[in-house]
């Protein structure tokens, strides 16, 4: 038997280490983040102040939540352009409800998740049952959900939220631990997402579908139900991100989310983090670190007093740089 064994295993294509490459990505991103923080910190010392670092981490939470949901969708070879619209609608609906109807947070939270789930479920229905390509389906619902925000707000905007919303968005959940509640929420969501992706059947089915949906179907995996669930979760997480956003900033307009192109930012951070746009491979830690990276870059542009008209272009260049460096490494592992 030994002759068979040696004959079939070609030593030249032996064991390329997958884990090492992934860690490298995360390390590279962390180094980039520290480099930006130190570099800008030298020029503008207040950039390295505790309050600014807290601000940057906090503002990466919204991106991180949407980025995680986008990562799941991209793993299935899909894309969800409607996340920013769902985020905006949720921010508007619950921002207004918190003041006009004095809705308490404990009511708003499940309602928000349910609303996002319904919107996401509709995306999943379009993709998995009607077989509409995800980019087209969610481009449609992007406009649809974005339009609902205008209809619902009817010219109003959120200028302030109720104190318990504001507390949720800014205060520390655990007294003495200087970590704002949203950061803990992101950590919990990221940990849960990691567990699902690596240790639950549902997560492995997502990866299998992204690698080869036909093979996954042939192996007895329910492709349609899995896709429906992925888009549903994406909607729920986007709505949750909207709630976090409005609680933290105390403001929302009819173009919250869509105006900043959060859908594109979420795709960018997933790709920066090492998720493959062709599907089948995802890196949740990379996504979370990528969201911090993007938040740091955006804040750095402000601190460097770059004129506001340059923000979008500067952000784009940084994204391209990060994705290009990553892409070159994965071509030549």
């Amino acid at each position: 038997m030994s002759s068979t064994a040696t004959a079939v295993s070609d030593p030249s294509r032996r064991k390329k280490s997958r884990p090492r490459r992934r860690e490298l990505r995360e390390v590279t991103l962390l180094v980039a983040i520290f480099a930006v923080v130190l570099g800008v910190g030298v020029l503008r010392p207040s950039f390295m102040s505790f309050s600014n670092i807290e601000f940057m981490v906090l503002s990466s939470v919204v991106l991180g939540l949407v980025g995680i949901s986008q990562t799941f969708v991209i793993i299935t070879r899909g894309i969800d352009l409607s996340v920013s619209a769902v985020l905006g609608l949720s921010a508007m609906v619950f921002g207004l409800l918190s003041t006009t109807s004095s809705m308490p947070l404990w009511q708003a939270l499940p309602l928000c998740l349910a609303m996002g789930a319904v919107l996401g479920c509709f995306n999943g229905f379009l993709v998995a049952w009607l077989k509409i390509p995800p980019i087209i389906a969610t481009l449609g619902t992007y406009s649809l959900y974005g339009g609902l925000t205008f209809i619902y707000s009817n010219g109003l905007q959120v200028d302030q939220v109720s104190p318990n919303f504001a507390a949720f968005g800014n205060d520390n959940l655990i007294p003495g631990l200087p970590v704002p509640t949203p950061v803990l929420a992101l950590a919990a969501v990221a940990a849960a997402a990691w567990f699902v992706l690596n240790h639950m059947k549902f997560g492995r089915n997502i990866l299998a579908i992204g690698n080869n949906a036909a093979a996954a179907y042939n192996a007895g995996i329910s492709v349609r139900r899995t896709l429906l669930a992925v888009y549903t979760i994406s909607g729920a997480l986007a709505a949750f991100a909207g709630l976090v956003f409005v609680a933290y900033t105390g403001s929302a307009t009819a173009t919250t989310g869509t105006g900043d192109h959060v859908e594109l930012q979420s795709i960018a951070i997933a790709l920066i983090g090492g998720t493959a746009i062709a599907g089948g491979r995802g890196n949740l830690a990379g996504t979370v670190i990528g969201s911090v990276f993007l938040s740091v870059v955006i804040t750095a542009l402000v601190f460097l007093q770059v004129p506001a008209i340059w923000y979008s272009a500067g952000e784009g260049l940084m994204i391209l740089a990060a994705v290009t460096l990553g892409a070159r490494r994965s071509v030549n592992p």
């Binding site: 038997m1 068979t4 064994a5 040696t6 004959a7 079939v8 295993s9 070609d10 030249s12 294509r13 032996r14 064991k15 390329k16 997958r18 567990f195 690596n198 240790h199 639950m200 059947k201 492995r204 990866l207 299998a208 992204g210 690698n211 080869n212 036909a214 093979a215 996954a216 179907y217 042939n218 192996a219 007895g220 995996i221 493959a276 089948g280 491979r281």
Partner: protein, 504 residues
């Protein structure tokens, strides 16, 4: 698990895809513990029949019985449930997932209550054990994308066994394999048969079929034309059943010593560590064989010669002109073309029509002033390609993806030959092509060489090299290991050379 499966019988199977009738009243019985081979030209319906038995397609009429009980094979999982597993032509392993996970796809064991975790330890252990049992030494934690096709096929076998499947169907497994890998696959197939498994097998290669089969069924145009047991095995009879006419199999070409100045000269071509020190010449009207195992560097050398791949040293001269540093477009223009091995990936654009494909190699020459394409010329070239290369299709606007493998290859040929090259390098020109079409392709190659074209045929099929070539160069480990010409071009010498046994 070790129980021998019962008789698997398909009766009166009809299958249509749209207007295309693929199987007509086909009956096939796989007896317990036999290796039952399906032969037939491409498009005869062999794969479709296996796919029906494996639950991937559902028949329009007919029924499938196992030990007398009628089966409802609505999807592949249902087929696994009855112990039937298909190892597909291109193994469909999920590239980014580990080998172990691939083996347990769709049946990942979990432990604990909600949230129940996947039991990776059990998965890895069982996966490693079942691969070791097949003699495959790979780390099951490695990504499936790092496996060779031969290794992937063995992983598919292990998947079948893990699912308790005892009827394993192999859809043309050997066409991407080297001779040595085929030997390994066969030893495993024999072992499975020894353990009581029933095996289905599809192959175009007569030697393989006679080596492994207990029974052979021949399909032609969607119907069974012959069925013979091991005793009644006769090549001529099988070929006749397959193609419906006589094919001259043992044709031996007169091996000519080509004269005149070389039209293509390669000197000192190197790109460490893939290949080095490659010198060879081809003369007009000569057919030069390039033999070697997959991975020997033969394809890489050809690609480097044609400018498709980097080289670190060496010169390539085409008809007196140095093309070592020319662009791909200039090389084609100068008269050197490379017809790649993997048609679907590099050779043709499957969704596009015969017309678009046939003219793709010379689209630049079909422009009128202002860059508008000359449609009349396009139609003329495509029609001429279909006629000259005997492409069987509805018309020049039929998408190439709808044609059989042999006809696709003829379109690829036509595409390149319509540029009137001086030298053509053909990489595995008959891979996945049936006997009838193979013969036609050989005739085409000989015809082109008779017209003065120099042709390099890269092949891992001994028979092909011997039937076709004037001279054979054996590549081993990225170097030219031997050069054989005239009476030396025999199966024994060519075979020994490309296994690295015979040194120059």
């Amino acid at each position: 698990m070790s129980r021998t499966p019962g008789l698997l019988a398909a009766t009166g199977i009809d299958k249509r895809f749209g207007a295309n009738s693929v199987l007509r009243n086909v009956s096939l019985a796989l007896a317990p513990g036999e290796v039952h081979t399906l032969m037939g030209e491409n498009g005869a319906g062999k794969s479709t029949l296996f796919r029906i038995l494996a639950g991937i397609h559902q028949p329009d009429a007919g029924q499938i019985n196992l030990d007398g009980a009628t089966l409802d094979l609505r999807n592949p999982s249902a087929a696994y449930g009855h112990g039937i597993y298909l190892v597909p032509q291109e193994p469909a392993l999920l590239k980014e997932l580990s080998v172990a996970e691939n083996m347990f796809l769709g049946m990942l064991p979990t432990r604990g209550r909600f949230p129940s975790r996947i039991d990776w330890k059990t998965i890895r252990g069982q996966a490693q054990d079942s691969l070791s049992a097949l003699g495959l030494d790979v780390d099951v934690r490695d990504d499936a994308k790092h496996l060779s096709i031969a290794q992937q096929q063995l992983v598919e076998c292990a998947k079948a066994l893990l699912r308790g499947c005892r009827i394993i169907l192999f859809d043309e497994p050997t066409s991407p394999l080297t001779g040595r890998e085929v030997g390994i696959l066969f030893s495993i197939m024999r072992r499975l048969r020894g353990q009581g498994c029933t095996l289905g097998f599809i192959s175009h290669r007569m030697d393989e079929v006679s080596e492994i089969s207990d029974r052979v069924s021949v399909l032609r145009d969607g119907a069974v034309t012959d069925e013979v047991g091991r005793d009644g095995f006769d090549r001529a009879r099988l070929v006749r059943a397959m193609v419906g006419r006589e094919v001259i199999f043992d044709r031996r070409r007169v091996r000519r010593e080509a004269e005149g100045e070389p039209v293509l000269s390669v000197r000192g071509l190197a790109h460490a560590p893939v290949f080095s020190g490659v010198d060879f010449d081809v003369r007009p009207g000569e057919i030069l064989g390039f033999s070697g195992l997959i991975g020997s560097g033969r394809t890489e050398i050809a690609e480097a010669v044609c400018g498709l791949r980097a080289k670190s040293a060496g010169s390539v001269t085409l008809a007196g002109q140095d093309i070592s540093a020319s662009s791909i477009g200039d090389i084609i223009e100068a008269g050197l073309v490379y017809v790649p091995e993997d048609r679907a990936r590099h050779g043709v654009i499957l969704p596009m029509s015969i017309r678009d494909n046939a003219t793709a190699g010379q689209i630049g020459r079909l422009q009128r002033k202002g860059g508008i394409l000359n449609r009349g010329r396009e139609v003329a070239i495509a029609t001429d390609t279909m006629r000259r290369y005997q492409v069987r299709a509805r018309g020049i606007d039929q998408p190439v993806g709808q044609l059989s493998g042999g006809n696709q290859q003829k379109v690829v040929f036509g595409k390149w030959m319509s540029t009137n090259p001086k030298v053509a390098i053909l990489d595995e020109p008959t891979r996945g092509v049936d006997v009838g079409a193979k013969d036609e392709i050989y005739r085409l190659i000989e015809e082109l060489s008779a017209q003065g074209m120099a042709i390099v045929v890269i092949s891992s099929e001994l028979e092909e090299l011997i039937v076709l070539c004037d001279r054979v160069i054996a590549i081993y480990g990225g170097k030219i290991a031997a050069e054989l010409k005239g009476a030396d071009v025999t199966a024994a010498r060519v075979g020994a050379a490309f296994l690295g046994v015979e040194a120059h």
